[in-house]
Symmetry: D2
């Protein structure tokens, strides 16, 4: 039984981690850390857990808590973990960080996009970017796992095979993404009130969204050369779900079949990536509550572009589910353990 602790348990990603770990079978939650809710029973914060979990949140010293567990999940604001984590803690437990602190290798890029100074740059090189389907082998060995962002998981997985195989122009990638509101977290902000986001659609973070450099770094690694993208996220009135719609110029000679073959090559055996029949558009609801990413695409011979589409549940494959998948890999469990829930419709 893997002993797990969760820092930042009261956010939506933390809540989803609790739900997934309680149903996992091979892991056991030892503590739930929250400074603001220390002493409060978790079931009072998330009443769906009434009679299911009977544990108070704690704010005991994290460096002590670490000794009680094999793995620590941190679902915390950007900049928190980098100022707290050190090698001693990493020697005691493995860390799966759902924040961005260890995702970007280039500290300068991190500090520029996040407007933060990084608290432990020396640890960044130890971190592995936890996109399971791509970095599985490195994930197995790491003690510091940088769990990818929700938008980035969706965008990177959707574009990766084409970038890797050199089927699209690296400088032509335009990513539009739609996100449900849970991605904005559970803090009390006017902008996330029901009456502010319902019956509304808007773009935000245009040209400045912090998932941009994460997407670019990973796709650049895949391409073996610099990839630069426009990433434009939108907020739409639903709770869960991310949909990425990516357009890119096809390199001369790229056919539908070549694209299908690329997807098949990298994802054909992946149990959490579902490649839809040609031309079919993924819908976020078909992934809701599950760890699936659904991917479809269409070639526009008129304009010489491909339209690539990916859909996932931002709290599962885009956060907690992928974190559990990473835990499974890191601890040599079956990769899908605890992640077999079928998407729930409606």
């Amino acid at each position: 039984m893997i002993k797990a602790g969760i820092v930042g348990a009261t956010g939506y990603a933390g809540n989803e981690l609790v739900r997934l770990l309680l149903g996992h079978g091979g892991a056991e939650i030892k503590w739930l850390y929250s400074r603001n809710s220390a002493g409060t029973p978790y079931k009072e914060i998330y009443k769906n857990f009434f009679q299911i979990i009977d544990m108070d949140c704690t704010d005991r010293d994290l460096s002590e808590l670490v000794s009680d567990v094999d793995v620590v999940f941190t679902a915390t604001p950007q900049g928190y973990l980098s100022t707290v984590l050190n090698r001693e803690m990493l020697n005691k437990a493995r860390f799966i960080d759902l924040s961005a602190d260890y995702r970007i290798k280039d500290i300068g890029v991190y500090e520029k996009w996040y407007h933060l100074s990084h608290g432990s740059p020396e640890l960044v090189k130890d971190a592995v970017y936890g996109l399971c389907e791509i970095n599985r082998e490195e994930i197995r060995k790491t003690r510091l796992l940088a769990n990818p962002g929700c938008f980035t998981t969706c965008a990177i997985l959707t574009a990766y095979p084409l970038v890797k195989e050199g089927l699209i122009e690296e400088k032509s990638i335009v990513i539009n993404a739609l996100s449900g509101v849970s991605g904005a977290g559970r803090s009390a902000k006017v902008q996330n009130l029901f009456c502010e986001v319902n019956e509304n659609a808007k773009a935000y973070g245009v040209t400045t969204h912090r998932h941009t450099p994460e997407i670019e770094e990973q796709l650049s690694i895949a391409a073996g050369k610099d990839v630069m993208v426009n990433f434009t996220p939108h907020l739409v009135p639903m709770q869960r779900g991310i949909l990425s719609t990516i357009s890119a110029d096809l390199k001369a000679g790229t056919t539908e079949d070549a694209i299908s073959a690329a997807y098949e090559k990298y994802y054909g055996k992946e149990q959490f990536i579902r490649l839809l029949p040609y031309g079919e558009c993924p819908e976020t609801r078909h992934t809701e509550g599950s760890n699936f990413v659904d991917i479809g695409f269409k070639v526009d011979s008129r304009t010489g572009r491909a339209i690539l589409m990916g859909a996932l549940d931002n709290l599962v494959k885009g956060a907690a589910g992928q974190a559990v998948q990473n835990m499974n890999i890191m601890f040599s469990l079956p990769e899908s353990q605890g992640l077999t829930a079928i998407p729930m419709v409606p």
Copy 2:
């Protein structure tokens, strides 16, 4: 492994049955019956099942199909099963009927409220009303299970202990219920279009809703005398969930403690009924995706009434989940098998 068939697999309750049975572990779906969709792969009807189930809908003769299974679930329109079912079929398989055809013992009452003539009145006496927490022993033995309605499950379970213990005036019960839209089914009707039900609340079926006699019959059995209620359902813009708010005059001397004790007496050991702390109001979202019923209440000493509140997921405990719970009881499996999903928030 229990072999199961589903008639009416393409509706929302049928879809939920498929989802629950696929994750059950002790049951196996042998066929999915649908006249309108015969020959269509189920995963094309509900694309959440893509790469999960690979089975076409069938319209083979039902009397033959019955031979292939141990249990038949019928998630069909009112009046269908009563004209199709006979003893021969019942000898081959057990039936769990999610329609209303066998719920009401008084055929005249059924025919009056449903405006249908009953096709097999001789089978009604064999049927057991499948409210698991109340009729568990009868359920164990029956071959014809009348699975309760969504509104009725919620209303009856919420009121039952008080009626049974004689704590409220039997003629004073007023039930208001709110329902998500999935309760209206998946047929193409203007009234259920997004733009017709979103941003809207309305009552419907006032004084005539067909769940009324079902509630009355069951509460009358509990009371040992005639109970007559006003039941007023409302449609609100959410997908899943039923909330019942019941007001009733307290009999002289009924205290909060007496009510708590009554709930405790009947439900204290029930794993799917969660009794909330006094005064707390259940919320449908805290049951979403689960088989739970959450119950709370408050006494108004000013007016001498109790306000009782129950919440559940209409597709799980209000339909498919309760059907699986009944199957588990009928086939001597652990009652919660396949029904342990934790409610998903948000």
Copy 3:
């Protein structure tokens, strides 16, 4: 041109007042008071007003601001106005208060239900309860108008004719109400986040909601004897709208026709109350954006009860629209001026 000031302009009711007054034709907004947003252009707070209103919020001394206007609308938290208002201010301008401070004549009742001590009890007797259709003559003459609550407008108007005519048992009234989320205001609270209220239904304030004594006081005046009710509000995932469903025991001999006649007697000539054909259920969306109250009812001869239903837009007839209607009456303008918008569907 009536000169108007709005205190509490940044809440949803304040925002709706701005919208209605800008389209009124006979009124002019002189200032928008807000302590938290003083100095901020109103169009930055509510960007729907971009290029429509060019005015900063102010926190100048209210006793001075009063001199610049004929009427002050206060859309402020409970307890604010009662501690600020005095006769001198009232001599300078008329006040239309959207809070509860002057709605309840019995100070003890106010203080008990609101857990506040009233700051100006001597002014309460001067205040007129602004339910236009019922107190039109008193409204004409007052300088201090207590604008009714959203739930109360809906519940009282729906029940009034039957109570007034003695058609229902005064002690049997049970009111269930559904509210959209804008009724909860625009303050940053976790409980009103999109992900907390969407896909959810719950009751709240059970037996303790502060609109209860307001309903009881007004219905008692109508009945000429004490009326006591159970009022149970529910929150449902929509932005605007209130639906009241009221059950009450019919007095012996009360017929459908008698009820229809009572409604016709009091509302037959009212331009903002629409009496639906017998048995038809009002829907909140059919009133959205308008000042209408739609009322329907049904008699249940089985149980001897009537089910009365009323629907309105909580921000219009339930708040700002009724305030403007009251202004029109107080200033001898046509009662419907600025309030002729047709409900917007979908």
Copy 4:
């Protein structure tokens, strides 16, 4: 008083036309044509109109009905009007067609994208494309007005000044658009049920959406050369609203200021186009119920692209509002008559 008739009055665009014309002041509805609802009172189809309009739908011969009016609005399926309209009818009344039948000058393009054969190609050259802000002078004189589509109005207006001024690469335009569900109409289809579109986001019509050639034709006229775009619409769970997010490569030397100047040049004096401060993102809710188009943009110097964003209410500026605006122009009324509603938030 302009006498108006509406064909296709029972759809959402028709309903919005009725609402706008009733509040217009200078127009009068003479008849509402509907084959499916002939004989039905309009207020029974859209109950928001209860006590507001008292007129039955008719299916009298259209060639006769035309004689009773000055203008006919056709909110009908694609292909209907082109097979019905002739010069004789056009001599009797002016036509404002909300379908696509006369929008595209190139019949071959129309027939290819719509999979229809055009019934009256000889009339196409007489038709004027009714994008008011761009074709105002031609609109004034025409008897056959092709009212633009909802997506196209938004996309073209957002991109037009940059294309016209040659600031962006004509072949680099990628348009992503989000639409509320009312754009899909009011017909009873499973895919538009609440439970199918709520809590969901999806692209559709990828590379084949029929608004594509309309956008291309208009932008090509503006550019004076061929423009070809990728247009990818998405369905999101809201009732009204369209948001366009357009990315395009900047031509060498194009600055923020140049773009601002271009917008100012073409729209600076337009009352229905609101140019937001640089970098601000339009939100559909800020236009709801109004005839506004809100436009914002941002330059990404890293990638050399501009991100242009436009928002509008698909039923107003995207359909009925623009139709009324066109009527105003065609009949020499003030262009904003009947269209001054302030956007309603929340």
